[in-house]
């Protein structure tokens, strides 16, 4: 048997892409293994006739309680899915379909995850109307603009809790209150917030909430949807079959995945406060280490933001070349120079960032296994790379010479 590679070998880049995914916490792996092999409790949780099934069912229900406990929900309000994308699809299409007689208008935001935006696009093809709100330049939703977008036939609002690119935290309590007053169903994509921001669904006016396991040290391929019971929110199932999960999501429950998600959520509840404090220190250290360079901009509100995220534009440096110079770091860029169209991040564009700044953005996301030494090294590498690329950049020369780049007529290509 080959030995497992340690998470941090010398040859591996420094991982600063925790918002993309996280490694599974070793404590989670240990739990998952108890539900996989022939000597384990590998049964089908739906098998009622033998102990293999009973043990698996007990494990699933214990995990369901752990998931519910992190977010202040009742375990009966948790529906397991294959991940946050499926949860978003089930929530948005399921609620829109079920309530189509009441109205066919939906409100969401331009900076939502593609799983939300594309579900809305599908509903548009089915005859629904969707309003895509512009956020404020800091990434947050203007409550007045939001309220003005609501109509008598609005049945559903979908707003994410924490943005995946810029890490800003929306005021879902205020948005939810407005929805409640108008009896509009409120869905929140919490893939990036569970385990990072306090969530208490007992008090929050939220009807549907999507969760993912792999963003908080659980396995990929498993997620959940919170479906409020009182008052009861009804959905039209998107997956038909054996009637699992109270008919809302058929398909044999993936016991080991669910157990992993439960353990990950249990650990998150226990360690969140301490972890957030540690991550905030690392993030501030990183930002303090680069902010004195000229023309450095933070994308998204700096205060209303999760601890582990910092998204920075290094003006006059193109994002993809910066990623190339920073090949010792595993990070992501808002620039996607992979097609002839060269489209920068739609999230940064929605904030009103100009193309140069959108093209020059880098997202650093830190997590449980990030160390202070890694941040020191990151600062060193970033400063060197930005300096080198600015020496190469004709735009930097023009900026230094006091030429306004917007005043030039560029030939788009």
């Amino acid at each position: 048997m080959s030995e497992q590679k340690p998470h941090k070998s010398k040859e591996q880049p420094i991982y600063l892409d925790y918002s993309a995914t996280t490694p599974i916490d070793p404590r989670v792996v240990t739990e998952m293994l108890k539900y996989m092999g022939p000597e384990s409790s590998f049964g089908n949780p739906a098998s009622r006739s033998h102990s293999f099934g009973w043990a698996a069912e007990a494990a699933v229900e214990a995990a369901r309680k752990n998931v519910a406990d992190l977010v202040g929900a009742n375990p009966k309000e948790i529906v397991f899915t294959s991940g946050a994308t499926e949860s978003d699809n089930l929530a948005i299409k399921g609620a829109a379909h079920f309530n189509h007689k009441r109205g066919k208008h939906i409100v969401t935001c331009k900076t939502e995850h593609k799983a939300v935006l594309d579900s809305c696009r599908q509903l548009e093809r089915e005859g629904y109307e969707v309003t895509y709100l512009d956020p404020m330049p800091n990434g947050l939703i203007d409550l007045k603009v939001f309220e003005e977008a609501l109509r008598d036939d609005t049945t559903l609002v979908s707003i994410m809790h924490v943005n995946n690119e810029i890490g800003v935290i929306q005021d879902i309590e205020a948005i939810g209150k407005i929805c409640r007053e108008r009896k509009i169903i409120f869905h929140v994509d919490a893939a990036q917030s569970a385990g990072k921001v306090d969530i208490n669904l007992e008090e929050l006016p939220v009807d549907l909430m999507s969760f993912s396991a792999h963003k908080i040290y659980g396995p990929k391929g498993i997620g959940a949807l919170y479906v409020q019971r009182k008052p009861r929110v009804r959905l039209e199932a998107q997956m038909h079959g054996g009637g699992h999960e109270r008919g809302m999501r058929s398909g044999t429950l993936a016991t080991h995945q669910i157990v992993g998600m439960g353990e990950a959520f249990r650990i998150a509840k226990e360690e969140m406060v301490e972890e957030n404090a540690r991550l905030l220190k690392l993030r501030n250290k990183l930002y303090d280490g680069v902010k004195d360079m000229e023309e450095v901009y933070v994308n998204g509100d700096i205060d209303q933001r999760i601890a582990g995220n910092i998204n920075i534009s290094f003006n006059y440096v193109e994002g993809e070349s910066l990623l190339m110079a920073l090949s010792d770091l595993a990070i992501s860029s808002g620039s996607a120079c992979t097609s002839a169209s060269l489209e920068p991040s739609y999230v940064l564009r929605a904030l009103g960032r100009n193309d140069e700044l959108a093209h020059s953005s880098i997202r650093f996301t830190m997590g449980r296994f990030t160390t202070e030494e890694e941040i020191d090294r990151t600062i060193e590498l970033v400063r060197k790379a930005v300096g080198k690329l600015r020496d190469l950049s004709p735009l930097w020369d023009m900026y230094k010479a006091g030429i306004d780049i917007d005043s030039i007529e560029w030939a788009a290509h």
Binding site: D355, W410, A411, H413
Partner: protein, 125 residues
Amino acid sequence: MAYGEKVLDHYENPRNVGSFESADNVGTGMVGAPACGDVMKLQIKVNDEGVIEDAVFKTYGCGSAIASSSLLTEWVKGKTLDEAQAIKNTQIAEELALPPVKIHCSVLAEDAINAAVADYKQKNA
């Protein structure tokens, strides 16, 4: 994405980075747009015989754009204006083994040499 060896080499050690002072024997071509994520500035210094004796570049753009312009400066040196303008983007793409999504970088390089030559000719018309 994965880059070819030659792209990496030019990116790590770009040749002929810099700028020339504006002069009659200098032609400057600036092509691309910040909105599209790449801007290339190529400058050529032309001697009395109409031969490019020196070339420099600065590029804002991805690694393939930087490599394309770096390679271009090497290729145009010692060439006449006509010879330099005969350089095709396909030659650059082939030399650097650019993947299909990066072909536009080599097109931009071809545009840059044409623009630099045009600028020189206009000044010396």
